[in-house]
């Protein structure tokens, strides 16, 4: 594990998010939600927003964004809410089971198994 984020200056994170420490977390952005840019960075845009738009030209999962930007997931989530509100990115949600105790379908499991066996 990288220790780099432990040394992070809280003031910097505070500035990046404009002082916000939480967003209305309706669970709409989870770790594996794919984020896709819908437009190019514009002049005067906050640099973190611009970086996200550049990275997400190729659909990128939230957790990968967090690692690329070297920012905690919570901070990335706040930045993504800004971009979603502005309509410059879209989110593609992973397929999840609707009921918590639902097991994945045998078809899906078969594909996972085939993929693993190729490793």
């Amino acid at each position: 594990m990288s220790p780099r984020l432990h040394d992070e200056n809280p003031d910097r994170l505070y500035t990046i998010t404009g002082g916000r420490s939480r967003v209305v977390d309706d669970g709409s952005i989870d770790l594996v939600t794919l984020i896709v840019s819908e437009s190019e960075p514009s002049a005067g845009m906050q640099s973190e927003h611009a970086r996200i738009l550049r990275i997400c030209r190729r659909p990128t999962a939230v957790v990968e964004l967090s690692a690329d930007l070297e920012l905690p997931v919570g901070v990335v989530r706040i930045l993504l809410c800004d971009l979603l509100d502005a309509g410059v990115v879209t989110a593609r949600h992973p397929r999840t089971s609707h009921s918590p105790d639902a097991l994945p379908s045998p078809e899906l499991l078969k594909r996972v198994l085939l993929g693993l066996q190729k490793l």
Partner: protein
């Protein structure tokens, strides 16, 4: 992949992931738990915890994400966020510190998240599988496999064991009236 510190979670994620090992952080709010939002905004202390993740591209459409995080009680907030969409879990056990796995196993059972237990072998195993099952109070249907987290083929076999376990559960459910 869940387990105590130093049990080999990072090593296992690294050995099967197609991307360079990455780690990131999630923020946890200590004072916010069970407290009304408006009262929790001020004076709360936040701390962060690092977790590893890796990726395996399964086919043209499917990507498998692997997450490795500590399983102790205080880190569980991280796992609660991961349960949606999670296929299952691997509890990585160091037989010298079996008690580090108790909380994780208890929590997974409580959530109904399917899991397998993988004994990461640091040298020769000191206990028989039977003794380890006893020590973990492991239900008979939960697979227990041996592994060497440093080896790709061994880590891959653990993941395959988990998927096979899911198959078995899914089959058992379909045949239960």
């Amino acid at each position: 992949m869940v387990g105590g510190f130093g049990v080999g979670k990072t090593t296992m994620v690294r050995s099967v992931s197609e991307i360079r090992p990455l780690s990131t952080e999630e923020t946890m709010t200590r004072a916010g738990i069970g407290v009304d939002d408006t009262t929790a905004v001020r004076g709360k202390t936040t701390t962060t915890v690092a977790f590893d993740f890796g990726r395996i591209t399964l086919d043209d459409e499917l990507v498998l994400y692997l997450f490795g995080a500590p399983g102790q009680e205080r880190f569980w907030f991280l796992w609660d966020r991961l349960f949606a969409g999670t296929l299952g879990a691997v509890v990585l056990v160091d037989t010298r510190r079996v008690q580090d796995s108790w909380y994780a196993i208890d929590r997974l059972e409580h959530h109904g998240t399917p899991f397998v237990v993988a004994r990461n072998n640091f040298g020769a195993p000191q206990h028989s599988r039977h003794q380890l099952r006893d020590a973990l109070d492991l239900p008979p249907h939960v697979p227990l496999v041996d592994c060497d987290a440093r080896r790709r083929d061994s880590s891959k076999a653990v993941l395959v064991a988990l998927v096979n376990h899911l198959f078995a559960l899914s089959f058992a459910r379909e045949t239960t009236p």
